[in-house]
Symmetry: C2
Amino acid sequence: MIKVAIIGYGNLGRGVEQALKQNPDLELVGVFSRRNPETVQTEGAPVYELDELEAKKETIDVCILCGGSATDLPVQTPAITKNFNTIDSFDTHAKVPEHFANVDQAAKENQTVSIISTGWDPGLFSLNRLYAQSILPEGETYTFWGKGVSQGHSDALRRIDGIADAIQYTIPKNDVIERLKAGEKMELTTRDKHLRECFVVLEAGADPDAIKEAIVTMPNYFDEYDTIVHFISAEELRRDHHMMPHGGTVLRTGTTNETTKQVIEYNLQLESNPEFTASVLVAYARACARLAKEKQFGAFTVLDIAPKYLSPLDDATLRKELL
Amino acid sequence: MIKVAIIGYGNLGRGVEQALKQNPDLELVGVFSRRNPETVQTEGAPVYELDELEAKKETIDVCILCGGSATDLPVQTPAITKNFNTIDSFDTHAKVPEHFANVDQAAKENQTVSIISTGWDPGLFSLNRLYAQSILPEGETYTFWGKGVSQGHSDALRRIDGIADAIQYTIPKNDVIERLKAGEKMELTTRDKHLRECFVVLEAGADPDAIKEAIVTMPNYFDEYDTIVHFISAEELRRDHHMMPHGGTVLRTGTTNETTKQVIEYNLQLESNPEFTASVLVAYARACARLAKEKQFGAFTVLDIAPKYLSPLDDATLRKELL
């Protein structure tokens, strides 16, 4: 039995609690939160203050860190890795090397294991980029995201004066994906790959035309895209847009000689982004516990871990049933 | 530089020679064949008799075995693994455990490394089945093949009296795949998943109706499928059916709680099956040489090998560029 603690209880932490119920070889010790435990409503897991974590060291095999990449994980992952084996979903691509170095040092000095940047991008998409480009060295890799909710773009909309609430969907241009799969060579701009669709609830008296203009011209977030803006009621937003779907495609188109085209495609279609990410974290928590048992101390990413470490089945069964 | 020998020079061996040209860190030492070397036309590689292989031991890091799974590889892989690190594409699913045990013994006794059953199924499809079911433990995995040429079914057609030549395409039922992706639960029979399409050249005087009946009722090969039979000329067969396309889909549909559907899809669309399989073999040849350098002796499958071993890039570059 692998004993697991959840650190932080937002959407991701809640998803991990759910995912653990589908994995009978992993047992949830409890949720550790910075909030007052009495205010944290879990689906049954006991809740403790984060300060109590270290005292429970002997009862926990792996901590699954469910905080955010902006401020939580850069501090929490190295700190908690000093005492525990850890998993995180750190997803600030540009800062992965620095985060890896910090966590690796903490893990090696304290003989623990940490697997960083799990989830689906970074994570499963990274794996697929690596496999595909290693197998087809002559070719192009394309990553498309969506259809799905972008939290960052939704937040950007909500910061505009006159907007009461909003949600933004990133939508891949499927016709472009089909043309790439058919072998067409294309130089793609940002605008060519994705659409942005916004559902906006206005504050009383706000000017829709001015707000639409403010959205579509917003630098970095919307100006380089074709952006569709819908104005809806608060009631419609609540009713029709409470799910957190996401997904996307990693496409590698290559040639094995001058004329032979080969296409590798990996595709996720997710009704809940946080629940799926949580399921990836839990599979890698199993891998983390095994690496620790093998005393392979240090930091890892999904690129460093053999697929078999994710499965509850033994090697002989995997060869027999899955190969 | 990783020095590679090709053992056997059919379609797969020819594909490996091609693939090695796209991988500058691997160098081809030569092709080793049971045929008279003067009769083997390569695209530039020197050809040697298979009996000369052992004498070249010091100049070869990895042997890529390109023989067939029925009779060549069960004998060749364990035998050659006694002296060399090896890769094969053994694809008789039911006999994988026995083959693995034989090769593992040869490798461990002689301190070599062998990676068996690489390619795409077994191989990349196996990987994807493992990742997907480990991440979504509550769900179903479906494997579809095609559209592509089945060598076994084409051979079965050619053995029928009155058939001069023939080719058979396995065709997945895409509407079924779409319904599964949309979340429909289905109990699928063999007939529900694939169609079989045959292009047949008759011998002079053969009876088309009798031959069609012999095909569609053939046990194991065609009787459990909807089979379409076309009669064409030898000229049409040569002109329109000389490529060896293949591919397929591994689909995992699962739920992360009672109502949340999640779909993972892996999809290959290959204009040349042997050239793509060869490209997979070459990427795993790189992994094989590295495992040997690390003295991790024994037999492996794709399920046992961390993704990073396939890439010519170093770990820090992979984290920076692909994660």
